[in-house]
């Protein structure tokens, strides 16, 4: 049951679900959730390959950097969401039509 392929399939499902979330949902926070899922799918792939294929820990380091970047991205993203809400009073993505007001 546990093999490289099973991890890849889990990661594939995560990626697809994240993509669907990004495409289908109109709430900006929900889109950020989708981005987190996609980043995690990538990180899982890195660690799985590092265990089964390369046998060194570079994959772990890469997934650590992915976690760091995801944290930074969500902090900035949520700051933008809050600022957007202050201006538009909504967090519907279709309302985001102007680069400046």
């Amino acid at each position: 049951m546990m093999s490289l392929v099973s991890y890849l399939i889990i990661s594939l499902i995560l990626f697809i679900v994240g993509l669907v979330v990004i495409i289908a949902r109109k709430n900006i926070v929900a889109i950020l959730l989708g981005i987190e899922l996609i980043l995690n799918a990538a990180a899982l792939n890195f660690v799985a390959y590092s265990r089964y294929v390369t046998n060194n820990l570079d994959g772990h380091v890469f997934s650590l950097f992915i976690i760091v970047i995801a944290a930074a991205e969500s902090a900035i993203g949520l700051a933008i969401v809050i600022r957007f809400f202050q201006i538009k009073e909504t967090i519907h993505i279709d309302e985001a039509t102007q680069l400046r007001n």
């Binding site: 889990i10 926070v29 899982l44 970047i69 995801a70 930074a72 700051a79």
Partner: protein, 178 residues
């Protein structure tokens, strides 16, 4: 045996919660399901012997990102939680007509077939091997890698984090209107 069990449960948690993130209408519930999914991924890391990455995952996501998300949901008002057309199925007709849907279906089919082909190749190249209970500690090795081979990325990520900190504080700062 135990690792198999952990793998099965974590995989179930990850995939189930990820799908729940997509189909739940309430954004607050979506955030909580994301928490479950991320915990499941930490479990998967543990089955891969990546103890440090697993714990970092829990630390950063549970302790930081998910709470931030919940805060953002709360600060952006409770009325908009079930906003217009958040339902996956209810949204479908608005996304296109029969042509776009058939093209999308075709593209999806091609992508899925490509992926199946790729995964079949990988399955042939790396047949399922039994992993014992030999999980050497990765902490010191990761430390060495971080300050030797990947030192540039390590330093840059600290700059990135500082930038994110300052940037988020400046962007979200309340300003005088007009």
């Amino acid at each position: 045996m135990f690792i198999q069990l952990l793998f099965g449960l974590s995989a179930l948690l990850t995939v189930g919660c990820a799908i729940a993130v997509a189909v739940t209408k309430n954004i607050m519930h979506s955030c909580v399901f994301l928490l479950g999914s991320l915990l499941g991924i930490a479990g998967l890391y543990a089955t891969l012997g990546a103890d440090f990455v697993a714990v970092t995952q829990i630390m950063v996501y549970v302790g930081g990102v998910v709470i931030l998300m919940l805060f953002a949901v709360m600060l952006t008002g409770g009325k908009d939680f079930v906003s217009r057309a958040q339902n996956l199925l209810g949204l479908a007709p608005a996304m296109g007509n029969k042509w776009t849907f058939s093209v999308g279906l075709l593209v999806g089919l091609v992508v899925i077939l490509t992926n199946v082909k790729l995964i079949m190749n990988i399955a042939k190249a790396y047949p399922a091997k039994v992993i014992g209970n030999d999980f050497p500690s990765t902490v010191s090795q990761i430390g060495h890698l971080l300050v030797k081979e990947h030192v540039l990325a390590f330093e840059l990520s600290s700059v990135l984090l500082l930038g994110a900190l300052v940037g988020a504080a400046i962007i979200a700062r309340p300003r005088k209107q007009g």
